[in-house]
């Protein structure tokens, strides 16, 4: 499943995606005909106040939720058309996830958590992959923590394990959902530097949902949603400017 041939620059694409929850008069439109291209090799932040639809947008882009209308692609695979088994394989082989709550399996060690996606796919880890993962672990300072269980690690360490797990399979895209939400500000900055580094050094595509202007300032591109529609689409911006932008959105509402 290579995607390089037909869409060399787009990792993911949403075309006129609408999502509503509920029916009749109680229906809520979470996304209102949103079209968005996420470019390969870039760190894109998806921002918006709570209730803006940013989480729904990520869920749909990752194939975790289906749109009410509109089409969704990962590379040149239209994921809206896939059944559950095919979507499972796409998630396993072509996507990575980093969450606010780290979401490590509590009974597995850090290393076991990292290699889980390989194991679930029944794939053997070859030497180059093993070297890649080991390198990542060492450069993130986790080399001696790999036999520890999640509860023996600090929040920052847990999140680094989750990031290594996401990077390990070299997925086409990593979806990060408020990855700094549960961390103190210093650890949060370390994690953001890490994500930005993965993008800059390895060309890893990352789409990060956040409401934190500081987190967004690490991204190459910032997309702002409000009330289910795209309001702004800007390049790398300082946290102060992002804050001002968000504030203006709040005031307009």
């Amino acid at each position: 499943m290579t995607t390089s041939s037909s869409s060399p620059v787009l990792a993911a694409r949403l075309d006129a995606v609408t999502k509503s929850f509920g029916v009749g008069s109680g229906a809520v439109v979470a996304l209102d005909s949103v079209t968005l291209n996420i470019e390969r090799g870039r760190f894109t932040a998806i921002m918006g106040p709570s209730g803006s639809g940013k989480s729904t947008l990520m869920h749909i882009a990752a194939g975790l939720d289906s749109p009410t209308s509109g089409r969704v692609w990962l590379g040149d695979t239209e994921i809206g058309a896939l059944d559950d088994a095919a979507l499972t394989r796409v998630r396993r082989d072509r996507m990575g996830f980093v969450f606010q709550s780290f979401n490590l399996v509590p009974t597995l060690t850090a290393w076991e958590n990292i290699v889980l996606p390989f194991e679930l796919g029944g794939r053997r880890i070859d030497d180059s992959q093993r070297a890649w993962i080991t390198d990542l672990c060492h450069s993130l300072g986790l080399g001696d923590r790999l036999n520890h269980r999640p509860h023996q690690l600090s929040g920052g360490q847990q999140q680094r394990v989750a990031i290594i797990r996401a990077l390990a399979t070299r997925p086409e895209i990593i979806f990060a959902d408020e990855p700094t939400g549960a961390l103190d500000s210093r650890t949060g900055r370390e994690v953001l530097t890490l994500l930005a580094d993965a993008c800059a050094r390895f060309g890893q595509t990352i789409a990060m949902v956040t409401h934190d202007p500081i987190a967004a300032s690490y991204a190459n591109r910032i997309v702002v949603l409000a009330d289910g529609s795209l309001r702004h689409d800007i390049g790398q911006t300082s946290a102060a400017e992002v804050s001002a932008l968000m504030l203006s959105l709040e005031e307009a509402a």
């Binding site: 975790l64 499972t88 998630r91 396993r92 399996v105 597995l108 290699v115 796919g121 053997r124 959902d177």
Partner: protein
């Protein structure tokens, strides 16, 4: 749907899978002894019961045939084996329901973890196969734990009985090749019941790993399940009534009735998530109007699956015991009727009746014991899984006493409703059983069921004691630590 995936998985050899350093990482994570304790105990009980039955019937038929002509040996043995097989089948059925229930309860407490596995690329059929394999391992371990002491006991007790001249002095085969049958049936039961119980895995969506909110607890029963349950219920009832009718002319009626009973009861078990909350709703006001009582009544209805799982265990146990009580009372009543008409039979009959009833109570009691294991485990797991919810109530100002009262009120209401329902079912099944077994011999046509009120009272008292005891201990544990820690537990 998952055919492609299955092929995928097959392509990777188990050796390869192991070589990644965390053998069965997916499996190991779910394998926690506490969760599977009940499955193992149940497998041990069921295997022990089956093995004891095989040894017992073997010894018994050898002893009987020592007094008889050689040619009759086989027929005696076969008759006794069939009777044992019926009781073993009931015990295996109860074990299967308990095991499936346990697995379903464990999964309900692991939705987030399973969702995480699904999110990072495990397909649900693979997860289900893993759970079924764990069920197989548990059942195999349990079966061995259950078998060994029974066989050893048999090897010791049989020679002792021969020495004390209870049994005639002939060679007995305690290590019967047939011993393999209950072992293998128990292990197969563990595998299949775990597979059935793991059905809920396929309803877990990956997105549940990302959202904080709990899954919608009021999800309706799937349509396929409704259809299956209806077919079982109606087909089973028809077979049961067919057995009763056939019982009027032939003693084989009871076998048809047994099949009908198992099928229709399975239908009721499958309908439990709809049926039980409906019964709970009707009785919600019984527990009073204090905040603890009101939340208790609402809780019982709010999580229909959880309530149903706890209640099914009580319903099975109560149905079994009351069915037997009603059947034997009806049986005694019919026999007394005959004795009045034909006094010459009355003398010998009393003794046989007493002995038969004693043996059969023991045999049914065993299945009720298995059901009780399931009930205790289910209530305990349920309370442990609710630690965050209980923590929330405490941060809102509930005292630990109020929380315990709430849990006890929930258990009490569910127990009362299940016992009542079980008694109604037991009366119906018991009457069908008595009618199907004896209708032909009596030539009396239909009889009115005899209801042993005293036994019913004892059942009610025991069930309430077990249920409240089973939920009090874990509720104490659940309210022991700090409320904030409980709240954070996930």
């Amino acid at each position: 749907m998952s055919r492609l995936d299955t092929a995928d998985n097959r392509a990777s050899s188990p050796a390869e899978y192991r070589s990644t350093g965390a053998r069965g990482g997916a499996g190991k994570s779910r394998m926690r002894l506490r969760d599977y304790r009940a499955s193992m105990i149940v497998a041990a009980l069921s295997a022990a019961f089956g093995v004891a039955l095989v040894i017992g019937t073997g010894v018994l038929s050898s002893a009987i045939s020592a007094h008889q002509l050689a040619g009759e040996h086989d027929s005696v043995r076969i008759t006794v084996l069939i009777v044992s097989a019926v009781f073993f089948a009931i015990a295996v059925y109860v074990s299967a329901v308990v095991t499936a229930n346990t697995v379903a309860t464990v999964i309900a407490g692991r939705v987030r973890e399973i969702a995480l596995y699904r999110l990072i690329g495990a397909d649900s059929s693979r997860l289900r196969r893993g759970i079924a394999r764990e069920g197989l391992v548990c059942a195999a371990l349990g079966a061995v734990f259950g078998t060994v002491p029974v066989v050893i006991a048999g090897l010791i007790i049989v020679p002792m009985l021969v020495d004390s001249r209870v049994l005639p002095d002939i060679p007995y085969q305690v290590l019967d090749p047939l011993l393999k049958a209950p072992l293998m049936i128990t292990v197969a039961m563990g595998y299949l019941a775990s597979w059935v119980g793991s059905q809920r895995v396929s309803q877990v969506t990956p997105i549940q790993a990302l959202t904080v909110a709990a899954a919608d607890p009021t999800r309706p029963v799937a349509r396929g399940r409704r259809v299956g349950a209806t077919v079982l219920l109606i087909g089973g009832l028809l077979a049961l009534l067919g057995g009763v009718v056939l019982g009027l002319v032939s003693p084989l009626g009871v076998l048809v009735g047994l099949v009908g009973g198992v099928l229709s009861f399975s239908g009721i078990v499958m309908f439990a998530p709809v049926l039980m909350p409906a019964l709970l709703r009707l009785t919600g006001g019984w527990m009073g109007r204090s905040p603890a009582s009101r939340i208790a009544a609402a809780n019982a209805v709010r999580y229909p699956e959880r309530s149903a799982r706890s209640m099914v265990g009580i319903v099975i146990g109560v149905t079994l015991v009351s069915m037997f009580a009603v059947a034997s009372s009806s049986y005694v009543q019919m026999m007394i009727g005959i004795a009045d008409e034909q006094p010459e039979y009355a003398e010998g009959m009393n003794q046989i009746l007493t002995m038969t009833l004693a043996i059969f109570s023991g045999l049914f009691g065993f299945s009720a014991l298995i059901a009780a294991v399931g009930l205790v485990n289910n209530l305990a797991l349920g309370v442990i899984q609710r630690a965050p919810e209980l923590g929330l109530l405490r941060t809102l100002g509930f005292t630990t006493g109020q929380i315990r009262r709430m849990i006890v009120a929930e258990s009490a209401q569910m127990t009362l409703v299940s016992v009542g329902f079980g008694l109604v079912l037991g009366t119906f099944y018991g009457w069908c059983g008595a009618q199907a077994t004896l209708g032909a011999q009596l030539g009396h046509g239909l009889v009115t069921p005899a209801i042993p009120w005293g036994v019913f009272g004892i059942i009610l008292a025991l069930a309430i004691l077990v249920a409240i005891g089973a939920s009090l201990a874990p509720s104490r544990r659940a309210t022991r630590g700090s409320a904030v820690a409980a709240l954070a537990a996930d």
